[in-house]
């Protein structure tokens, strides 16, 4: 077969090749197209509406690193109060070790008893 024969064959093939795709395939492709379009529309959704209220809370949350920061602070606060109230044994032992009762500070009366001044008055 000569190169010219081959070019002729290619030309015939190009012409035959341009025939339409089967209708059921076109329908499937178009169904996919619409489905993807609908899905993307749904995912895009309506424009977000600004939430009202809780302005101070949101400001604080922003200052302390968002909701997670606020949650962390609240947990630490609760833990601190609990330790103070319950005074677990290890904490009490540590406190006694650092500040024994003998080393308790003496109280100094900086303001004299007001009652003693009255007779002179």
């Amino acid at each position: 077969m000569t190169p010219q024969d081959l070019e002729e064959l290619f030309a015939e093939a190009r012409a035959a090749h341009s025939s339409a795709a089967p209708p059921d395939l076109l329908a499937r492709v178009l169904t996919d197209a619409y489905a993807v379009q609908d899905l993307q529309d749904a995912q895009a959704g309506p424009a977000p509406v600004a939430r009202r209220g809780f302005g101070l809370l949101r400001l604080c949350a922003g200052l302390f690193g968002g909701t997670a920061g606020i949650a962390g602070l609240a947990t630490a606060m609760v833990a601190g109060v609990a330790i103070g109230l319950v005074q677990p044994a290890p904490v009490s032992a540590m406190t006694t070790l650092l500040w024994p009762e003998e080393a308790a500070l003496d109280t100094i009366e900086l303001i004299p008893n007001f009652g003693a001044l009255l007779p002179e008055g």
């Binding site: 077969m1 093939a13 190009r14 341009s18 795709a21 492709v29 993807v36 993307q40």
Partner: protein, 201 residues
């Protein structure tokens, strides 16, 4: 939101894809009618199996729909991108076929007959069947390059982009592919009606 089909018919694919991403149903119809037959023919030539080619064409178009919102104008041609997707899908299927063939003892015992006699009956039907049969004998990359160049009418730089190789490699593949095709069809020249024409000077 949809524009009349007549208004869209002459728009480039990239514009149509942008309209599709914006929700235009008509753009989807125009793109489907314009692109599906092209990639179906391409896939069918590479795979030699119409049903499988339809699956590939549908999958490639689905990927196009999905990428539409993220399409970056000017970076690639829609058709070139689609041909590339089809090429990759076809390559995956050809590899799967090879694996299945290797796994099958029957197929292993009966290797593919690459002689002209294997498609002699097809050659007798018509030229197109003969061309398809001869194309099927080419190595995958040669077949892909020949189909893209001579049947899809793409330029060598576009083919190089699709196949992810250099332009020189494309030229080499198409030249070798054409020589192999001519050799494969040489013995059937008379049956294909070339006996009185196409004589080289």
């Amino acid at each position: 939101m949809s524009m009349p089909l007549d208004d869209l018919a002459h728009l480039p694919e990239e514009t149509l894809l942008a309209l599709y991403a914006a929700g235009d149903r008509s753009a989807a119809r125009v793109l489907t009618l314009r692109l599906t037959p092209r990639i179906l023919g391409f896939a069918a030539r590479l795979l030699g199996d119409r049903a499988e080619a339809e699956d590939v064409a549908q999958e490639a178009m689905l990927r196009l729909w999905r990428i539409a919102p993220d399409w970056r104008p000017g970076e690639a041609q829609v058709t070139t991108w689609l041909y590339r997707v089809v090429s990759n899908l076809v390559t995956d299927r050809q590899r799967a076929r090879t694996r299945r063939r290797a796994d099958s003892l029957e197929d292993a015992a009966e290797p593919v007959d690459e002689s002209l006699g294997a498609y002699a009956t097809l050659l007798e039907r018509d030229r197109m069947a003969a061309l398809d049969a001869a194309l099927a004998l080419l190595p995958d990359r040669q077949r892909q390059a020949v189909v893209l160049r001579h049947l899809e009418g793409l330029s060598n730089p576009d083919i190089a982009t699709i196949m992810e190789i250099g332009v020189e490699a494309v030229e080499s593949l198409t030249a070798r592919g054409k020589r192999a095709l001519a050799a494969a069809l040489a013995g059937q020249r008379a049956e294909l009606g070339y006996e009185d024409e196409g004589v080289s000077p």
